[in-house]
C-alpha cells in the first residue's frame, strides 16, 4: 500500500498546492472527512471551512469555500472557488466572504434559503476557526 497520494488544491485562477500527502482533512458538505491513500473513490461538495493537508514535512492549513473534492485511491483533488493558506487570510478577507454569503442569503430563493443560511453559518464558523471575528 502506498503511503502517500497526490494532493492538488486548485482554484479557478491558479493551482494553490500540488504535493504528495499522507492524509488530507476535507470539510465535506456533510461533515469533515479524512482522505488517506487507498480511500474509496468519492466525490463530495465542500462547505466553507478549513482544509488540512499532512505531508512528510508537516501539515498546512487552507481555507476553502465553494467547490468539490474528488478522492480516488491515489489522489485527492480539491476544486475550490476561493482558497488561501491560513497564514494569508486577513480579517478583511473573512469580512468580505461573510458579507457575500449574507447577501446571497438575503436574496436567496425560498427553495434554497436553508442551504444559504447554512452556507452563511459555515462561513462564520470558518472565520472563527482561523482566529478572526466575523460579524455574524
Amino acid at each position: 500500500m502506498a503511503d502517500t497520494m497526490q494532493f492538488d488544491l486548485v482554484a479557478p485562477e491558479r493551482r494553490v498546492a500540488s504535493e504528495q500527502a499522507t492524509q488530507v482533512v476535507i470539510p465535506g458538505f456533510e461533515g469533515d472527512l479524512t482522505a488517506m491513500p487507498d480511500h474509496a473513490p468519492l466525490i463530495t461538495t465542500l462547505r466553507p471551512g478549513v482544509l488540512e493537508v499532512f505531508t512528510a514535512k508537516g501539515s498546512q492549513k487552507y481555507i476553502v469555500t465553494g467547490g468539490f473534492a474528488e478522492i480516488t485511491a491515489d489522489s485527492a483533488t480539491v476544486l475550490a472557488e476561493r482558497s488561501h493558506p491560513v497564514e494569508e487570510v486577513t480579517q478583511a478577507m473573512i469580512d468580505e466572504m461573510v458579507a457575500e454569503a449574507r447577501k446571497a442569503h438575503e436574496i436567496a430563493h425560498p427553495d434554497v434559503v436553508d442551504a444559504s443560511a447554512k452556507m452563511l453559518a459555515d462561513m462564520v464558523a470558518m472565520g472563527t476557526h482561523v482566529g478572526f471575528e466575523p460579524q455574524g
Binding site: 485562477e13 468519492l42 466525490i43 463530495t44 461538495t45 472557488e81
Partner: protein
C-alpha cells in the same frame, strides 16, 4: 508635387507613428505573456470541472428532476447571445470577427423565427452591434475599469445570466468569444452554456465508480452554476489573450508598413532634392553660357 518641406514633415510624422505602434506592440507582447499565463493557470480547474461534471451529467440527464441548467427549459424560442469583445480597439480584426460570427448567428436564428436577446461584454462589440441590433440589447457588462481579470468578474456575469434564466427570460444561452490559438490566429467561437452541453467521450472516461456525498443530483445542481462561471471565466481569459495577440500582430504590421512608407517617402524626398539641385545647376550653366 509636394515641396521638400512637406515631404520632410510627412516623414517626421510617419516616424512618430511608427514609434507609437512599436511601443504598443511591445506593451501588447508583455500583456500577452501575462494573459497567456493566466489562461494557463486557469486550465487545470476548468478541465477537472468539466470532467467531473460530464460524468455526473451523463448519469443525471435521464433523471426526472434533472436540473434545468442541464436539460433546459423545455423550449428553444428565446436565445440569449453573450457577445464578449474587447474594451479597446486597435487590435486588428479581433472585435469585428467576433461580431461577424454573432451577426451570422443572429440572422440564422431570426430566419428560424426565434426571439433574440443580446448581452454584451466589452464596449467595442456593443458599438458595432448597436446600429443593427440595438433594440435587442438587454444588458451590458463594462470591464474597462478592470485591471486584472479575476474569477469574481466571471462570477458576476454568470450570476446575471443564470438569474435571467431562472426568471424565464430566455431558453438557450450562447457565448461568443475568441479562442487563442497563436499570436497570429485567434478563432472566433460560439459556445452554448445553457443548457449545458458536454463532450460525450469525456463522460465515458470519467466513469461512474464514485461514491457521491450528497447525492449525484445535488452535487450536479450545485456544480452547474459554477460550471457556467468557469466557462465564462475561461472565455474571458481566452479573449484577453486573443485580444493582446491580435493587437500585437496588428501593431507589428503597422510598424512594418510605417517603415515601408518612410522608405518610400525618403526616396521621393531625395529624388526631388536631387531634381532641385540639377535644376539649379542647369540654370547656372545656361546663365554662364549666355554671357
Amino acid at each position: 508635387m509636394p515641396s521638400l518641406k512637406d515631404l520632410k514633415t510627412r516623414i517626421g510624422s510617419v516616424k512618430n507613428t511608427r514609434k507609437i505602434t512599436k511601443a504598443m506592440q511591445m506593451v501588447a507582447a508583455a500583456k500577452l505573456r501575462r494573459a497567456q499565463e493566466a489562461a494557463e493557470n486557469a486550465r487545470p480547474y476548468a478541465e477537472r470541472m468539466e470532467k467531473v461534471m460530464s460524468g455526473l451529467a451523463a448519469s443525471a440527464t435521464g433523471a426526472a428532476n434533472a436540473p434545468r441548467l442541464l436539460i433546459g427549459s423545455g423550449s428553444d424560442k428565446v436565445h440569449l447571445l453573450v457577445v464578449m469583445t474587447a474594451e479597446r480597439g486597435l487590435c486588428g480584426g479581433f472585435n469585428s470577427s467576433i461580431v461577424k460570427l454573432a451577426r451570422t448567428r443572429i440572422n440564422e436564428l431570426r430566419a428560424a423565427g426565434k426571439t433574440i436577446k443580446i448581452l454584451t461584454v466589452g464596449k467595442k462589440g456593443r458599438e458595432q452591434l448597436k446600429r443593427e441590433f440595438g433594440d435587442l440589447f438587454i444588458g451590458h457588462v463594462d470591464l474597462s475599469e478592470v485591471k486584472r481579470l479575476g474569477y469574481s468578474n466571471a462570477q458576476e456575469i454568470s450570476r446575471d445570466i443564470i438569474g435571467r434564466f431562472d426568471a424565464g427570460e430566455y431558453d438557450v444561452a450562447t457565448i461568443f468569444y475568441s479562442r487563442f490559438q497563436t499570436v497570429i490566429s485567434q478563432i472566433p467561437t460560439a459556445q452554448q452554456i445553457i443548457p449545458a452541453v458536454f463532450d460525450e467521450s469525456k463522460a465515458e472516461e470519467a466513469g461512474a465508480l464514485y461514491d457521491y456525498e450528497p447525492t449525484e443530483g445535488e452535487i450536479l445542481a450545485e456544480l452547474l452554476p459554477r460550471g457556467v462561471a468557469t466557462q465564462i471565466f475561461t472565455a474571458l481569459l481566452e479573449n484577453g489573450a486573443s485580444e493582446q495577440g491580435a493587437r500585437m500582430s496588428a501593431m507589428d504590421s503597422a510598424t512594418r508598413n510605417a517603415g515601408d512608407m518612410i522608405n518610400r517617402l525618403t526616396i521621393e524626398y531625395n529624388r526631388s532634392r536631387q531634381a532641385a539641385i540639377t535644376k539649379e545647376l542647369i540654370e547656372i550653366i545656361s546663365g554662364a553660357e549666355a554671357l
